[in-house]
């Protein structure tokens, strides 16, 4: 009798749990409709810089490695076309074993020749072909394909971030034969190994992909297809999600837009949020007086109440986290207790501003000293962050005027020629990795995007040391040292607040995890739609 009861209880529990389990189990079928706030200039990710290329086109391709689609930090590397890899003892040789039986969409087999041709295009582009990513791979001496299923990268020196570089979402693997015929073919055509086949692109309107029935990862993708709709206006994007004409927009919405969607859709919407590996920096032109004086620069950072700023701005803008040189929550992020020791991050803002005033006085800066803050003419979040900065600086007796410059002319007319005293700058990486995130802060002779225009050999040395450090603890220590010098001792650049990524999406969309980068996780092979 007891046994019978037990069986009955187990059966009832199983039956009750079945719908919930079915809800969590990936399900095949359906078309994912998503909105892309930008359009692809060309189809070639090796040369483009916009997520407008990644979001609609990445599902047609694979990369050699990728970041784990389930990892919220977006920094754990897993295999994509490579199933395993090994690193030599001296850290200079990376050997990757490729999956067998991977087919391009035309039915031909993908081999190491294709990987080599793709990476050669990126790292050693032939004459006349521009590669924007060449600079990221200066460490690579050679790419070799000793057999059809092995690729070897030989480095000039060991580099801690190299695996992450191989997981770059921009480095799609193209077909060698096509590249040999025409290096520019991929700018206007699609031919990958990815989970979805190309169906249609109507410029300015939409992009359609359908399931690749011969995808090498058996059982995937779950979706029958996807439709990316290009939509620049954010109100129209919100209306599309709210009207359930689209299920998701992968870049991000503002807090107000999130709230309106949650209010309208209730349980039919799921919200994922994450620190965003993008932020507005403040470039301080060291070639303009008095900003060559580090006391003045330190005063500028000490004036900022970042914690209060975070509380206020996060309600109205896409900024939130107070962080150091690495996005909070990621492997090399600064622990809060250490961050609070840096100038401008002290919890006691009264003390901080008193120190700022003292430094200004010591540097001979009179009360009411005026300068111009040049801002980029993009409303969100440059406008609220600019207003906040000016208000903060006014509180230590500085009189700041804001000049807004049209985005198309901003880099060419303001930052690059150094035509400013203090100006908004921007950094946004495809993955949180110190080599990528700190590169720009090296001396101006090394980094063309060092718009504060300084030379600091100590920083250069620290950058190189951390980049070559193979022990994570040692690397962490060097990054902290770099951070202290950059943000506190020299205050070459000011960090404002980390951007905050908010993705409210249809609750039917499953299998997609937010990361700190809107370039990652766009292959859509793990995404599925609930009933």
């Amino acid at each position: 009798m007891c046994a019978l009861k037990l069986v009955l209880i187990v059966a009832l529990v199983t039956l009750a749990a079945a719908p919930a389990a079915a809800q969590d189990r990936p399900r095949h079928g359906g078309e994912l409709v998503f909105v892309v706030p930008s359009s692809p200039p060309s189809y070639d990710a090796h040369r483009e810089e916009t997520f407008g290329t990644i979001h609609p086109i990445a599902p047609h391709y694979n990369t050699l490695l990728r970041t784990d689609p389930g990892d919220r930090t977006g920094s754990r590397v897993v295999g994509d076309l490579a199933e395993s890899w090994s690193i030599s003892r001296d850290g200079r040789t990376y050997t990757l074993k490729l999956r067998r039986g991977v087919k391009f969409h035309d039915g031909s087999e993908m081999t190491s020749r294709d990987v080599k041709a793709s990476y050669d295009k990126i790292i050693f582009p032939p004459a006349g072909v521009a590669s924007n990513r060449k600079g990221e791979y200066v460490v690579v001496e050679a790419v070799q394909a000793p057999d059809p299923y092995t690729v070897v990268f030989r480095l000039k020196w060991p580099q801690a971030s190299f695996l992450n570089s191989l997981a770059s979402p921009w480095n799609w693997i193209y077909k060698a034969d096509i590249l040999a015929r025409d290096m520019r073919w991929y700018e206007t055509h699609v031919m990958g190994t990815g989970p979805f086949l190309f169906v249609e692109h109507v410029k300015g309107s939409h992009w359609v992909g359908k399931r690749n029935p011969n995808y090498w990862d058996r059982g995937k993708p779950y979706l029958d297809g996807y439709r990316a709709i290009f939509m620049t206006d954010s109100a129209a994007q919100v209306a599309a999600i709210r009207g359930e004409r689209a299920m998701i927009q992968f870049r991000g919405f503002s807090p107000a837009e999130r709230d309106s969607l949650v209010q309208a859709l209730g349980k039919r919407v799921t919200v994922q949020e994450s620190p965003w590996n993008c932020l507005i920096l403040v470039a301080i032109n060291h070639e303009k007086k008095p900003f060559d004086d580090r006391r003045v620069r330190r005063a500028l950072t000490l004036a900022l109440d970042r914690y209060q700023g975070s509380a206020a701005l996060s309600k109205i803008a896409i900024v939130k986290e107070v962080g150091g040189v690495q996005a909070p929550g990621t492997p090399f992020a600064t622990p809060p207790q250490e961050l609070e020791k840096l100038a401008g991050y002290w919890r006691d803002i009264g003390k901080s501003r008193a120190e700022a005033r003292r430094l200004l006085k010591e540097a001979g800066i009179p009360d009411g000293f005026s300068f111009t803050y040049k801002n980029r003419g993009i409303p969100m979040p440059y406008e609220p962050v600019g207003v906040w900065l000016i208000d903060q600086w006014r509180q230590i007796g500085l009189n700041v005027r804001q000049e807004v410059v049209e985005p198309a002319a901003y880099y060419g007319q303001v930052l690059r020629p150094g035509n400013f005293e203090v100006a908004a700058d921007f950094q946004c990486g495809y993955t949180v990795e110190p080599d990528l995130d700190l590169y720009k802060f090296q001396s101006k002779e090394i980094s063309h995007s060092n718009y504060s225009r300084y030379t600091d050999r100590v920083l250069d040395e620290l950058y190189e040391k951390q980049s070559r450090a193979t022990d994570p603890e040692e690397r962490r220590r060097l990054i902290r040292e770099f951070e202290r010098r950059l943000l506190d001792e020299e205050a070459h650049y000011l960090y404002t607040l980390q951007w905050h990524r908010i993705i409210p999406h249809s609750a039917r969309v499953r299998g997609w995890t937010i990361t700190p980068s809107h370039y990652l996780n766009q292959q859509l092979d793990t995404v599925w739609l609930a009933e």
């Binding site: 006349g128 521009a130 309107s205 206006d233 209306a239 198309a408 002319a409 880099y411 995007s449």
Partner: protein
């Protein structure tokens, strides 16, 4: 008449040429360039070598006069080149959006004419009565209401009240008339209302002026039927300025509906125009300016022909 038409057609050439010269050099004066924007911008790894390669590829390294001559040479062969941003042929970029913009302009014009002409006539006939006041309020409200704002109201109403949104992708009318109209009727109403307001006021004032003319008084004195007076004698003459307003508005709609296109997510010429300027896509912007200039000139030409048809005095002059 034929001589007049040929003369007007020939006059288009220097006008378009002047527009071409103006837009080419204006674009070069505007700060910022496409290479900087697309390949440098926020990138930490952008190098001068790369930017130079791209400038060479796009022909931006050549002296401006050489760029101008090769562009003009292309235009004479009706070859507008390729978009600097997408690399696609410019005619293809325009063709993709032209049908939608043209249809929207036609629909908005139809709505405007269907509203404006009867309302304007009624308001003029019933001057200073309740009907006239109602029409005037209706038209002033139309003038004061931006069409994009009305568009937003339409969308919110459809969304909140009917839990429905117009389709987001354009379907040509011959593929599915229902889908096509379900998408375009809303922007056409939003734009058509503002457009009708202008035309209503113009119709009313032109009718009032004509109704005071001697020949109307003479027709009435002869005992002609009032409806005949209005339709044959008054309306035909009052239509001249109305026609000009309608035509100019129509030409404007072909490239000027930027915000309305954004609100309704329409892949039209207005949005393409703004994006091409924002991207500093010289070739595409130049071609679009030429297209819009051509539409304006051509529509004006048609209006002039219509003038000649409506008013015999113009034909005989």
């Amino acid at each position: 008449m034929l001589r007049y038409i040929v003369k007007r057609l020939l006059l288009m050439i220097p006008t378009l040429l002047a527009v071409a010269v103006l837009v080419f050099f204006l674009m070069r004066v505007v700060p910022g360039d496409i290479v900087e924007l697309r390949f440098a911008g926020e990138s930490a790894f952008a190098s001068k070598e790369n930017l130079d390669k791209e400038r060479v590829r796009l022909g931006l390294d050549r002296p401006v006069w050489q760029q101008f001559l090769s562009w003009m040479g292309g235009i004479l062969r009706l070859d507008f080149g390729t978009s600097m941003w997408t690399g696609a042929p410019i005619l293809e970029e325009i063709r993709l959006r032209f049908a939608l913009s043209l249809q929207l302009a036609i629909m908005a014009t139809l709505i405007a004419v269907l509203l404006a002409v009867p309302l304007g006539i009624v308001a003029a006939i019933k001057q200073d009565t309740c009907v006239d006041y109602a029409v005037r309020i209706f038209s002033i409200a139309g003038l004061a209401t931006p069409s994009f704002w009305l568009g937003i109201l339409f969308i919110l109403t459809l969304l909140i009240v009917f839990r429905w949104l117009p389709p987001m992708l354009y379907t040509p009318f011959w593929v599915s008339p229902a889908q096509n109209l379900a998408q375009l009727i809303w922007p056409a109403l939003a734009v058509g209302y503002r457009y009708s307001a202008v035309a209503t006021r113009m119709t009313r004032s032109a009718m009032l002026e004509v109704l005071r003319e001697d020949y109307i008084r003479t027709a009435r004195a002869k005992g002609l039927w009032e409806k005949l007076i209005l339709s044959r004698h008054a309306l035909k003459n009052a239509m001249l300025p109305v026609l000009t307003v309608i035509a100019l508005e129509f030409a404007f709609l072909m490239g000027g509906l930027v915000v309305t296109e954004q609100v309704f997510n329409l892949n039209g010429l207005g949005l393409l125009f703004v994006e091409s300027v924002a991207h500093r896509d010289y070739t595409l912007t130049q071609a679009l300016v030429l297209l819009v200039a051509f539409v304006f000139i051509f529509v004006n030409f048609l209006v002039d022909l219509a003038y000649a048809w409506i008013d015999p005095r113009i034909r005989f002059r």
